[in-house]
Every structure is written in C-alpha cells, then in structure tokens.
Amino acid sequence: MSRRTLAALVLLLLLIAFPFVASGYLLGVFTIAFYFGVFAMAWDLLFGFAGEVNFGPTFLIGLGAYAAGLLNVRGWPILPAVLAGAVAAVIGGLLLALPALRLRGPYFGLVTLVAVLLLQQVIVIFAGVTGGEIGLSLPDVLSVDARKNYWYALAFMGVSGALLYALSRSPAGLILQAAGQDPVEAQALGFNVAKHKLAAFSISALFSGLAGALMVFYLGTASVDTVVDISVTVQVIIAVVLGGRRTILGGILGAVFLIGVGEVLRPLGQLSTFVVAAIALAVILLFPDGLIGAFGRHGREA
C-alpha cells in the first residue's frame, strides 16, 4: 500500500513538473483531459458506488458551465461565478434527482437523459441570452498562460480526486456501496437508502458543476458542443468504464487516455472517432474492470 502511495506521489510530481518540458499544445490537451477526469470521477461516484446510471452528467456540467458563464457576462468575477455555477448544478441536480430517484430500473437513467436534451433545447431557444449554438463568449479567462491553466486544472483535479476518493473509502462511502448493490438489505441494516443516494447525487453535481464552470473559464467560451451535448456524456461514461468503475481514480486514467488518443489520432479526421471507440471497446472486452482493475488485480495477487 505504501508503495502504491509512493508511486502516486512520484506520478504527481512528474505531472507538476511536466509543463517545464512539454509544449503549449500538449499542455492544452492535458488541461482538457484533467477537467474530463473530474467529470468522470463525479460520474463514477453515482454509477460505481450509488449504483445509479446517470445519463445526464452533462446536464450537471452544462448547468455549472452556463450559470458561471452567464453571471460572468453580467459582470461577476470568476471565483464567485464558478461557485455560483456549482450551486446551480447542485440545485438543478436535486430538482432532477428528487423525483427521479423514486423511479426504478432504467427509468432514472432515461429521465436524466431527457434532462440533457431539455437543457440543450433551452440553450438553443434562448439564444439571445445564451449564445445558442454559436456559444457564449466570456469576458474573463482563468489565464492566458498555458502552464498556469495546466496547473490550475491539475490542482483542481488533484483536490477533487483526493476528496472523492477519500469519500468513497469512508464509512459513508461503504454505506453508499451497500445502497447501490442491494438497497433492500441496506435498508434492513438501518440505512436510509434514498438519503444516501441523494447525497451522492448532490456531491456528484457539485464536482461536475465546478469542473464545468472552470473548464469554460479555461476555454473562454461555453458551448453546447463542449459541455452539454450527448457525445460529451458518452465520453464521460467511456472514460469511467475504460479506467475502471468503482475506483474513482480510474476516471482520471480513462479521461487522459481518451482525450490523449483522440488528439494523437486527430490527423485521421472522422476516422479518429471510430478508432478511439474501437480501442475503448477492445479495452472494455479484455479488461471488464478497466485499466485500474487490470493493474489492481495484479497488485493484489502479487
């Protein structure tokens, strides 16, 4: 265990030092990947632990991103705008989850999917305010320096990952897993399953909203394609499954891999999406527990 902690620390130091050797372009790729890593970790808390398939991570991400962006346009500074974005995501998430968590089976997932489509339509319809399909240009950005942006994203992902990982390993995380795997038994053990799932949804919304808000301040624009579209949802889900569900940190691995490979294959044009999907499919078929699962198992057996 301590060896694994050491390895994590070394990796973190390497990541921190990375900007001194890497190009601005490469840093940009990693910056986006780090925000995606947070999307993925927040989603894994719901899917891997609470056992709820949320097809609407981009509903939460989009709420955070657009709330922050719109407030910034109205003159709010970045920090309060980001925090307000996170609050908006949590409130929106609660409004969605309160009725949706009463549903069983695939219906929760369907409701969250519809929520994404609704948000997308609202953004397009109120184009005068939101910028519609063109996107919303923000007056402020986090920084114009690629290194600074990289470090901001790395710090945010590191802190988010540490918090979510600690939560997943805590007694509260244990109860959440029990609620996800066998709600009847969890209730018979005296746990209010609805309460724990709602809390998990709120926490997932909080981190999704924060990440969405921060990402648009890095990009300088909020657009449906980058933070709301269903294809973003699909990427988040693939990142988690690729990295290893129920691991939290696997989401980071999956996101970096997915975004990284997508960039490397960009010269292939349309074909790159196909290749990325094929690679993801192969990894899922060969390692159902994801990349972390594959390593973790070897570690345990050794």
Partner: protein, 486 residues
C-alpha cells in the same frame, strides 16, 4: 412476560391476490417462533411486512408497544428489528470484516473516519459466529456456510430486539446445520425474540418454542411443533386428504423410456443444487417429482431444458442432450412451463398462444387452438385480454396452454399450483386429468403440493436436499414417504 412483537389483523394484497389475510401472532422476548407454510402461503410476505420492505394494507405491528406498521425498512431496522436474508449478497470489494463493520455504522452522511472501536467490535462479532479465521478474506472466496454466517454476523451487529431469519438452514450440510441451530438458540438465550420462516415444521422443530402454520395467507394452526404436526388441517395441506387415484392401463410399464436422467449433479457456485439424481420417464407416462422449495425441482427441469450446466447424462430418446442449445431442446419436443410462468404480460391471450404455435403449420395451429380453448374454456372468453390482467389461475392455464401449443412430446410443469386458491386448483386438476386421458402426452410434474402431485401421477419421485430419496407408486407415498412432509 409481555410480548415483544404483536401482530394483529395483518393483511396484504397484491392486486387481486391476498397474500396475507388477517394474520395475528405474538412473540415474547427469549422466544423462538416458527412461521411455516408451503410456497405461496404468505410467510415471506408476512416477514417483509414486519421488516417494512412491503407496506401492509391493514393491520397492526407493534414492537414493544410501538406501532411500526408502514414504517420504511430503515426505520424499522433502527427500532430494533434485524433480518437474516436467505441469499447473501455481501459487498464483494470489501472483506468479511468490512462487511460486518458496515452493519455497525450509524445512518450518517458525515461519518468519514472509521472508528477503531468499531473494528474491534466487528472482529469480536465475526469470531462469535465462527468467522474468526476468514475475516480478512473477500466474500467470493468463502464457502456457502461462511456467507450465511456473515449474514448472521451482520444481523447480530445491529443488536436487534427481534431477529427475523428467512429459511435458516437452506443449503447447509447437517454439520453446519447443528452449528447454525446453536447460533440461533443463542439469540434466545440473549433475550431476543426470534422469528424463523421456513417451509415445514420438521426442519425447525428442534429449535422452535411455538409454531404458526400458514396456508394461502391465513393462519391454519398454532402450537408446539408436535401439536402443529398432529394438526388435521396441517396434515391436509401438506399430505393431502383422501387422495383420488386414477388407475392407468398396465401396458404403460412396458412402454419405452423417453427421458433418462443419470447421475445428474448441478452446482450454483458453491451450493450443490442436485446430487447424483437419476430418474426416467416412459412414453405416455405422468411422473411427479415431489419436493419442498429449494429441494432442486426447478434446477432439475432447467438442466433437462438445457438452461443450466450439469454433470451426468440426460438422454432424450436415447440421445444425449448435452451440448444442445435450450432452443434446440425445446424444438425437439421438451417443453417446459416454468414456475414463474413467463407470460408476455402486455400481449393478449391470443398473442401469447400464437407465439407458442409459431413453429406449427397454420392449419395445425388452428386445430390446436380450438382443442386448447375446449380444454380451458376460460381462455377463449379472455382471448383479447392482456395476459397481465388475468387472475393467477388463468395465467397458469395460459402458460400451460402456450406450452401445449408447441405440441410437446414431454411437457414439464414446474409448480403449476403455486399460489392458487383451492377452487382454481380443482379446475386445473380437471384440465390435467382430461389431458392425461385424451392425449398420448408425457408429463413431468414438479410440485410441493403433494395432494395435487399424487392425484395425477403414475409414478412419484421425492426430491429432498438435492437428492432423490424415494421413488414409487402414489398409493404407497403416504405410508413410506409421507412423514417427511410435515
């Protein structure tokens, strides 16, 4: 001493089916009550109502004087009721110890640090149920009995005033059985009230102080284990009253064997569901396999239908079935009508039947449909109705009729009487009798309703704890094998 749990007038309906009707009983602290009944008698529903997993339609459940009927399960649990589940579903990424720790946690969102006293407590509980050596192992590496111990440990961890135990001994060997009896008896010594839910009195007789027997949702007897076993109504339910035998032509014995099962063994993970079972069915014969829930009847049928992997041989017309797909086996003439009926609920009666007749030529299909409507007239009256809106008995008839549409050479009926009221049972019985007398069909029937099984059978097998323990003619059953059925 005053009662710890008082149940009064408890009633639960699922649509038109009354699962529990006006049920009343009490359990005192330090007392073990057995709640027994055949499949579909409502005993599990009663247990779920107490635990709060289902909400009662009427009646009162008081724990130490506090009305808990209708509370959500987590509140009932916090009030001091624990449930030992029959099927253990532990957290697989956590060790046995961590699984016990889970049960010790308060229902809190903000508990983020593990308390060390909790770990110690969990270890002590684990050792007390005999898990001491395996506490740091993961559940998937544990044998079946240890998984059951883990369930017990979780229940103990909650320090419940009332413990509900669902089928305490299902799937255990006799040595483990003694061990578990001791653990449950220990609950009594600690002053807890215990409710054991099981199928028959015999299994729990040594352990219980009192027994309440249920049938079709109603209490039919109460008293000590001996009293309940002697009770006329209980004997009637479990053994059947006077059995009307239907004599069959003697030439059947000379008929060739259609289905041969040889040394069949089936494992579900670590639990052995069938142990070297052998049986044969001759062409035109009506064979009943009698056994309680969990004896292995459904597993046997699923093995024949090619739905579960097995060891041993199954010969159909002398040809081994191993390696054939379930669909191929069904097309070769073995048609199973499963216990769960598996109707297409949103399709009409007619559509369900048409699906069964897909592989028949249209003319043959029309002919069979007319014949089936003659056999089950109620289905003709309901032909445009969605299957899910039928009553339980009508659904069962539809399931059988759909199986017959496939023109089976061997019809396997798995628990057709499950949850049916006596009057419906009588109709079903008549239909089967006509089937037996007017067609050359071969039938393999699995039943725990002995009366129903015997009245139609040419030959009977008794399946108990995964093994065939008796084989013979129905008229010899009561004398030679009946005692096991109380």
């Amino acid at each position: 001493m005053t009662a710890r749990l008082v149940v009064e007038g408890l009633t639960k309906r699922f649509g038109g089916l009354v699962a529990v009707r006006d049920l009343s009983f009490e359990i005192r602290p330090g007392e073990i009550l057995g709640l027994i009944g055949p499949n579909g008698s409502g005993k599990s529903t009663a247990m779920k109502l107490i635990m709060g997993i289902e909400r009662p339609n009427a009646g009162s459940i008081r724990l130490d004087g506090v009305e808990i009927a209708g509370w959500p399960a987590h509140r009932v649990a916090r009030a001091g009721v624990g449930l030992v589940f029959q099927h253990s579903r532990p957290l697989h990424r956590q060790t046995a110890l961590e699984n016990i720790k889970l049960a010790l946690l308060p229902d809190s969102l903000t508990r983020l640090i593990t308390d060390h006293s909790v770990t110690e407590q969990a270890r002590a509980i684990g050792e007390s149920v005999g898990l001491g050596r395996v506490l740091d192992r993961y559940p998937h590496t544990l044998p079946f009995a240890d998984l059951r111990r883990l369930e017990l440990a979780k229940a103990i961890a909650r320090n419940p005033k009332l413990v509900l135990v669902d089928e305490p001994f299902a799937g255990l060997t006799s040595a483990e059985l003694a061990d578990f009896s001791r653990l449950i008896a220990h609950f009594r010594d600690e002053g807890r009230a215990v409710l054991l839910v099981d199928h028959n009195v015999k299994g729990v007789a040594a352990l219980v102080d009192r027994v309440v027997a249920l049938y079709l949702g109603e209490r039919i007897a109460e008293g000590t284990a001996e009293e309940v076993m002697r009770d006329a109504k209980v004997r009637q339910v479990y053994l059947g009253g006077s059995i009307e035998m239907h004599a069959r032509p003697a030439q059947l014995n000379a008929a060739r064997s259609l289905l041969e099962v040889e040394d069949l063994s089936v494992f579900y993970g670590k639990a052995q569901a069938l142990e070297r079972v052998s049986l044969s069915v001759r062409a035109g014969e009506f064979v009943s396999v009698v056994g309680l829930n969990g004896a292995g009847k459904t597993t046997l049928f699923n093995a024949i239908s090619g739905l579960v992997p097995y060891q041993g041989r199954i010969l159909w017309n002398g040809v081994p079935l191993a390696g054939q797909s379930a669909a191929a086996i069904a097309r070769s003439g073995i048609v199973q009508c499963p216990e769960t009926r598996e109707l297409f609920g949103d399709m009409t009666v007619q559509e369900n039947l048409d699906l069964g007749g897909q592989h028949q030529p249209p003319e043959e299909e029309r002919k069979r449909l007319r014949w089936l409507f003659d056999l089950f007239p109620i289905l003709e009256a309901r032909r445009g109705q969605a299957a899910r809106t039928l009553s339980g008995g009508e659904q069962q008839m539809l399931a059988i009729a759909r199986a017959l549409m496939m023109n089976p050479r061997l019809l396997i009926l798995d628990e057709p009487t499950l949850g049916l009221a006596p009057v419906i049972l009588e109709q079903l019985s008549q239909a089967l009798e006509r089937l037996r007398e007017t067609t050359p069909i071969t039938v393999l029937l699995g039943e725990q309703n002995v009366r129903f099984a015997l009245s139609h059978a040419d030959r009977v097998y008794v399946l108990e704890h995964a093994r065939i323990i008796w084989e013979g003619l129905p008229e010899h059953f009561a004398k030679e094998a009946g005692a096991a059925y109380l």
